[in-house]
Amino acid sequence: MTEKDSSKQLLTKQDVNKAWTKWWLYAEVSSNDVVFQGIPHMLSIMDPLRKLYPDDEDYKDALSRNSQFYNTEGTIGAVVNGMTLSMEEERAMGENVPDEVIYSIRTALMGPMAGIGDSLIWGTSKAIALSIATTFALAGNVLAVPAALLFPLVTYFIGRWMYGLGYDLGRGAVMNMLKSGIMDKIITASGILGLMVMGALSAENVGLELMVEFTLANTADPISIQGMLDSVAPGLLPLGIIGLVYLYLKKNNNKYGTLILLIIVLALVCSFFGIV
């Protein structure tokens, strides 16, 4: 599919950007357990749909078509919203785009986009912005707040671009993006940055020191286990704890309610016996 012939368009760039902003504002506001983001998606394109379908009956059908089950990550997934809007426009201009096509393409693409968005936006970008904010905060530096706010600022514009991309390129857009492999490279590159920052923050903030000492018969000074560990490499014990926590979470699908209790209880017991 090539770019749309602009002389045949009913919607302006402004309509599309407004729809994105409304989506950004409401994407999770009225989502629920049943149709998830169906209602927010419908709400975000109410104005453009009215423009496309002046007739009340057509408008009503378009709204209910767009309020069906929908669930994606709002920033990267916005490309699917933009694409849906573009298909609605084609349909309003008399092209043969059946309901099922709009619905099935939307449903087919929301999952992969959610996967990319959860990993890139919420998993990596958010963690990086908050890590830097945390470093400032721990030093009592007020720059922490603007550093954290970089996350919504940057993601707003990424999403706006994705929405526009979906609209401009229509239903071929997402397929092209997935095929080109660029997304995969961006995810890996930001993953590298994310992992290095996580490693640094772990080193700074996860701590554990053993207080246990041994006294052997033929030495005067007691031997501390902590000292022995430090002579191998600094920070081995906290790293071991992180490894154990990581394995536990992996096994338990990132459910950590019990783990928090376990850590608190173990810390209390070890403190009682003077081990830590």
Partner: protein, 259 residues
């Protein structure tokens, strides 16, 4: 009870509403992050620096948490908006404040479940309005009414916890023996491992895992801070993007759960 306690409790309730209605997809969530809450509540209570330190310590536990499929495993803003004002009022240190925050985070997660269930009402009403071609009704049931519902669900618990909190916490702290306080502090410095582990597993690509250890040992051996490591990391990421080989040139639909 002092008036200032009530005002602070009301402010925290209001901030909780801002950060849980989700009005503004990525903004709302950020407003509820402990670092931001720490700054705002610290400023309000006249100790900005300590507020930020408390927020930063708590953030370490929550920064990796995301909401896959909309399920909220723990609510960072509930934890922060109860524990930070109480810690500022009672002089509780950061490690102990983090442990105190945990149950409130879990309590907050339960509120999200309530919200998801209650909100089905609005979907039903949207569909009814659609049938009647009442387009104005559609808008109201998709915007103002859900916003107000969230506000009620989230304001009240945070407000009440703040009102009842300080004195209760002070009384409990006074009765805790020395070894237990130390144990709580140790737990406080171990709990961040959870946040980091989740963040690492979400990034989730095995072949780039060594970068975690590079970041870890740069700090351990050289003593550089996280910002310095972030600068090196950004350079490595750019180098990879332009010089690295494309690992999977074909379509990759399973990026999110590639473990």
């Amino acid at each position: 009870m002092e008036l200032s306690t009530i005002l602070i409790a009301a402010f925290c309730g209001f901030w909780q509403v801002l950060s849980t209605t989700d009005y503004g997809y990525t903004l709302s969530d950020t407003l509820g992050q402990p670092v931001v809450v720490g700054g705002v509540v610290g400023l309000l209570m006249g100790d900005l620096a300590q507020g930020l330190v408390l927020g930063g310590s708590l953030e370490l536990l929550y920064l990796g948490i995301i909401y896959p499929g909309g399920v909220v495993p723990a609510c960072a803003s509930s934890a922060a908006l109860v524990s930070i004002p109480i810690a500022l009022a009672t002089g509780l240190d950061a490690g102990a404040a983090t442990v105190l925050a945990v149950p409130f985070g879990l309590l907050g997660a339960a509120l999200w479940t309530v919200k998801g269930a209650v909100f089905n009402v609005w979907t039903v009403r949207v569909n009814k309005c659609l049938e009647k071609k009442d387009f104005k009704g559609v808008r109201i049931n998709a915007t103002i009414l859900p916003l107000l519902t969230s506000a009620v669900i989230f304001f009240v618990p945070v407000f009440l916890c703040n009102i009842l909190g300080s004195e209760l916490v002070l009384a409990v702290i006074d009765s805790i023996p020395e070894w237990a306080m130390h144990g709580i502090e140790v737990a406080g410095s171990l709990l961040p491992a959870i946040g980091f582990s989740i963040a690492v597993s979400l990034i989730g690509k095995k072949e780039i895992m060594p970068f975690f250890f590079i970041g870890y040992f740069i700090v351990q051996y050289a003593g550089f801070g996280a910002i310095a490591v972030a600068i090196f990391g950004a350079c490595v990421a750019v180098l990879y993007y332009f010089l690295g080989n494309n690992p999977t040139s074909g379509a990759s639909l399973s990026t999110g759960d590639e473990q």
